[in-house]
């Protein structure tokens, strides 16, 4: 379900830089709605205000997704810091999402 390319190893759960993400969704389809809620919960708990999230609705902008190499939704792309990482699905697997975002906490381990 998850594909991650993050090169970061396990370390202290410190967030000092802004995490930039893009979430591709399909309107108000059920998995897209769940993905938004799950990501929001993770961001609120671990990133506070240190993140920037761009929501892209593929029903409105399919070409944008295609140009970014995204073929399925919901799909989350971590743009920065570090390497780009993608995670597919409704983001209910918190550990995988946190690993993809480089948030190595005890919970993720």
């Amino acid at each position: 379900m998850a594909r991650k390319n993050s090169g970061k190893g396990a370390g202290a759960p410190q967030v000092t830089t802004v995490v930039v993400m893009r979430l591709y969704i399909a309107g108000s389809a059920p998995n897209s709605v769940k993905a938004i809620a799950n990501l929001q919960a993770i961001c609120d708990q671990h990133l506070k205000n240190s993140y920037r999230l761009e929501l892209i609705d593929v029903c409105e902008y399919p070409q944008r997704a295609l140009a970014d190499g995204v073929l399925v939704t919901p799909s989350l792309t971590k743009v920065s810091p570090g390497r780009t990482a993608n995670i597919i699905g409704n983001l209910s697997d918190t550990g995988s999402v946190m690993a993809a975002l480089g948030l190595h906490t005890r919970a993720a381990e």
């Binding site: 389809a29 939704t73 995670i87």
Partner: protein
């Protein structure tokens, strides 16, 4: 048209169409993570690389179809007429109220249906409503080009169904994702009726509160929030207190607490079992029995009614219950207890250091504030007891004030002639103990 539908149209049976769709999905989705999410039912849509369109998966389609029905029903249930315009001004969606208006008014009042263009309708409006219609067209163009976020226009027209007046509200796109414009038609008469009915409701509530408090001009009760006053109201009992009546004696339990309306109660300390000295004066600004709020059930003073008048009382147990339950009542009572303590200590100082004439002037002013009248009946003996002096001392002081034309004193009837002059004649203690409420001073 979804890919599922396209395939279904081409395929001889539904099952074959579904199989073909699954085959297409497996051809497009090749990554392990994507396939895992697909098998777990966590995907909503796939983007067709050939056409660049987003194709909804069947499970998502079912849910969205249900959601759209709910939204549509809610849209139709709204009482205001609403239509949605695309960026060219063409009506792409209307609700039931909008359609009903269009049918009833035969197209008057810009009542156009889906597929019609709003700007064209404005241009073609009848002469009777052309001024309004052209103004709406200008506003709509500004909303469409983004120079205005919302436009409102009161609109009146004639139609086969009779004259009608409404307000058109044109609201621009909320975000870049949806370039559509919403037009809302609010019926003016209904809006006015709604406002009037709200106004009537407010006025009625205010009247009820006013009526409920009308019988209790006591300032303490009047200062309570409506909910806290309502808690006490059922237990309040109107009583008439008569001159010379003793409400409490020192050391006796306080069975009731009293809230004077237009009478005055003196708080007297008893010395050597028979001599009394006034230490406090309570009228419509306060209550008699405030020690209950401080945790004591017995009176420490004699409470003697000075002037016949109305009051309300409440049984001590009920008062204590309300006191425990109401933070507002607690604050009010403790504030008054503090005020009374200030008055008692100031009176003690006054009795010790100031001459009888000054003290008499203070006492007359305090009584006037509490009785809300400049004329009252008091004998020399009574005044002597209140001030803790001999009768002759009161006679001398009253004569002096009369000579200065500040009061008139005749056979026990006292009339204050010059309030400002009397204030000047009183000692500085009066400024410390006077009622801070301006209403109470404007007798």
């Amino acid at each position: 048209m979804t890919l599922d539908a396209q395939l279904a149209a081409r395929s001889p049976s539904k099952s074959e169409a579904a199989a073909a769709f699954q085959t297409w999905i497996r051809r497009v989705v090749t990554g392990a993570a994507e396939l895992r999410a697909l098998d777990d039912g966590q995907l909503d849509a796939i983007i067709d690389p050939a056409t660049g369109n987003a194709i909804m998966l069947p499970a998502a389609q079912v849910v969205l179809h249900g959601s759209r029905r709910i939204v549509r029903n809610a849209f139709d249930a709204l009482p205001s007429g609403i239509c949605v315009l695309d960026p060219t001004g063409t009506v792409v969606m209307t609700n039931r109220a909008w359609r009903a208006f269009a049918v009833a008014r035969a197209g008057a009042g810009l009542g156009i249906g889906e597929g019609g263009n709003f700007l064209v309708a404005c241009r073609n409006a009848d002469a009777g409503e052309r001024v309004h219609a052209l103004a709406v067209a200008v506003g709509l163009r500004r909303v469409l080009d983004g120079s205005l976020s919302q436009f409102r226009r009161d609109y009146a027209c004639r139609s086969p169904g009779g004259n009608c007046a409404f307000t058109l509200i044109i609201t621009g796109p909320a975000n870049n994702a949806s370039p559509h414009v919403i037009v809302t038609r609010e019926n003016v008469r209904e809006r006015k009726q709604t406002r009037a009915s709200h106004g009537r409701g407010r006025a009625r509530r205010n009247r009820i509160v006013t009526l409920a408090r009308a019988g209790t001009p006591n300032r303490l009760l009047a200062s309570l929030p409506a909910r806290d006053y309502a808690r006490l109201r059922g237990s309040l009992e109107p009583v008439t207190l008569t001159y010379g009546e003793i409400l409490f004696e020192p050391g006796q339990p306080m069975r009731h607490v009293y809230f004077p309306s237009d009478c005055v109660v003196s708080l007297l300390t008893i010395v050597e079992g028979h001599r009394a000295l006034e230490v406090g004066l309570v009228g419509r600004e306060g209550m008699v029995g405030s020690r209950l709020a401080l945790g004591s059930t017995q009176s420490s003073v004699r409470a003697l009614v000075q002037g016949t008048g109305a009051a309300v009382r409440i049984a001590s147990a009920r008062f204590l219950r309300a006191f425990r339950e109401s933070p507002a009542l607690q604050r009010t009572m403790l504030r008054f207890a503090d005020t009374l303590m200030t008055q008692v200590s100031q009176t003690a100082v006054c009795n010790c250091f100031h001459v009888v004439e000054e003290r008499l002037a203070r006492w007359l002013l305090m009584t006037r504030e509490r009785l809300q009248t400049s004329e009252f009946h008091l004998t020399h003996e009574f005044l002597a007891d209140m001030l803790g002096v001999r009768r002759v001392g009161v006679t001398t002081a009253a004569s002096s004030l009369q000579r200065q034309k500040l009061i008139r004193y005749q056979r026990g009837n006292i009339r204050i002639l010059d309030q400002r002059g009397l204030e000047a004649a009183a000692c500085a203690c009066y400024q410390q103990v006077r009622i801070k409420d301006p209403d109470a001073r404007s007798a």
